[in-house]
Symmetry: C3
């Protein structure tokens, strides 16, 4: 497996446009800068299509969705499809409310996604229309084996044409026929807000630099997990954990990623 994605991001410096929630938007901008991309965040209908036309990746995140921003997401997503710009979609809290479930359905219907990332509850809900979401975290009832996750991811990938990333204790990244399992990370990542949103933004940087294939997405997921491991080693609590996580992404390079990533292709 070839890991040259971070170098490609730092060379290309892709502009990643995010229509995202106001809870973790600062973290998302900072992680894009840390990996070597350039962020722009906006949400007004009057400018989103124009901003899409100058960007290399579009991230749609429904974490604090409202009716105005949903319209902007659809407009931006359609324009990105026209221009061949990869769309990375994070259905935060899908299943927790009708608004989120319907927004997810609308976006999947109107916009062709290059990558969809969520926890098992969010992805199950998007794929099968059922799930046990309690808020924005994965429901215990939705936990399942890696083999089942791969099956779900492949079916959903076949249905949408997107690379699917289901993140959790182990992460599954899959197209319709190629699947990877990543075993990096630390559970402390669940104790800060935004680890999911930041990962989605990070995938936007990888896809924006032409690394939106299953291996590229797996590299992004691995980078985030490794950063969590490094942060845990030096952390005194969740505040310093968060700072060290950003430090680790900003100093990571491809050889280090290759050395530390725990990746397996799932046959």
């Amino acid at each position: 497996m070839i890991f040259d994605q971070i170098g490609r991001i730092r060379a290309a410096r892709p502009l990643v446009f995010c229509i995202t929630n106001y809870v973790t938007v600062n973290d998302c901008a900072n992680i894009l800068l840390a990996i070597g991309a350039s962020p722009i965040m906006a949400d007004d209908e009057q400018e989103v299509e124009e901003l899409v036309s100058i960007c290399q990746g579009l991230v749609l995140n429904i974490g604090t969705l409202n009716q105005r921003t949903l319209r902007s997401m659809v407009l931006a997503g359609k324009k990105a499809n026209q221009h061949g710009i990869p769309v990375i979609f994070d259905p935060v809290g899908n299943g927790a409310s009708r608004l989120r479930t319907e927004a997810t359905r609308t976006l999947l219907k109107e916009v062709r996604c290059a990558v969809i990332r969520g926890n098992v509850s969010e992805i199950r809900m998007a794929h099968a229309g059922t799930g046990s979401a309690k808020g924005v975290d994965a429901a215990a009832a939705d936990a399942t084996s890696v083999a089942n996750l791969v099956r779900m991811a492949r079916a959903f990938a076949a249905e949408t044409g997107a690379v699917i990333a289901i993140t959790g204790p182990q992460d599954v990244i899959s197209s319709a026929d190629t699947s990877y399992v990543i075993s990096n990370g630390h559970e402390e990542m669940e104790r800060i807000t935004g680890s999911g949103c930041m990962l989605t933004a990070l995938i936007g940087a990888f896809a924006g630099a032409g690394a939106g294939d299953p291996l590229g997405v797996a590299a992004a997921v691995g980078a985030m997990g490794i950063a969590g491991e490094i942060a845990m080693a030096g952390s005194q609590g969740t505040g310093s954990f968060r700072t060290l996580l950003m430090d680790a992404i900003s100093t990571m390079d491809d050889p280090f990623l290759k050395e530390r990533i725990k990746i397996e292709e799932f046959a």
Copy 2:
């Protein structure tokens, strides 16, 4: 006095739904996770009632209020009252503008609050309709004795049925008949944004785990104050202070809280 509240939060992992301002929303989500609760932030009218029905605590904070989010707060608050879910209200900047004064009045009229937290200017304005607020900080002209704070808190508690927390150099927490004074904390807490908002969110975690009584609210206030003291000991400025404050909350437990809290019942 029994301090088992943090353990109860970590066991129950209450989902705390916040309709809050975009300045400190990330800090509020992180402190909820740090204490062991699960946060969800949202503000669209179409989903707030549904989200209330899956949460254990509702935090309403008017820090960057607009007309759309005020409607959502009223809807969510009424639904929480129907479901018996505790509502924690933070009237940020009450008195600084008519919009905030009227929003506070509307929320107090339409929603039964379990806890109301503010600085002396905000609470005086909410209770007596007078105050000297300059922006979002307490006005020097409103400073008064602990005995006067207790009197104000008790009267306001009797009027609203809520536990009242007036925070400042010393903190007063009171129902109509039971009052505590907390003497923890450090003035450096005034040099970062969000110490008030984070405390309100923290109270949401305590109330969401069934510890919304005056002693539970006092424990939350004490935990925040102790975290401020610990952060101050290691800080090199306000940036590291903020990181260490989060570290301290994320590593705090009940025995440590019991050992460090400076609490007195006010007879």
Copy 3:
């Protein structure tokens, strides 16, 4: 040159009202507190004029502009002009979309600004109506000599009556006839989000304490650059860099600023 501005801020504690973007709003509030000012952030049309009337400085930042907040900015700016309160304007991403270009034009037409701060692409677009902006970062094509930057700043200052701050590898601060060049700072500042927005907020504190003249604005720019140098010395990556930058502002005083600032008057 006299550097007493930080002391004046800490004595006066100006209330700085920011209508700003939701990406870096928390950083802006924290840096205002770090330097000794008091922040208030709000954006609803119903309260912005009232809040202007109690503040000493108004910061307008179009980073995540929408049509609602643009109306609020115009209302607040006009009111500030009536009350003689300095308006500091940051045309984030000016040139990247028609919405931003037109909003900048509207604000410059409707509101008399005391200070305008941007990168070379944003300022060139505001002044000459041309530029090569790619998102919110300065375009390489717009890089030019200090002499050219001074010429542009002076012409734009003469046109608007504002002090102009063009920030980049070297920073130019200029009225129509007095110009300073600052050579502090570190390129790492481009690897975190908000260094521009934070600087604009900081200038709001200086102007709010009566130091909105070219030397005062240069002092603010110098303070930020020095903080970047100090942060770089201790940083392990962009996460700790950001924390240390805030630490450095919160502990900076006038003698230290005077000692470290690299300032030249441009004749």
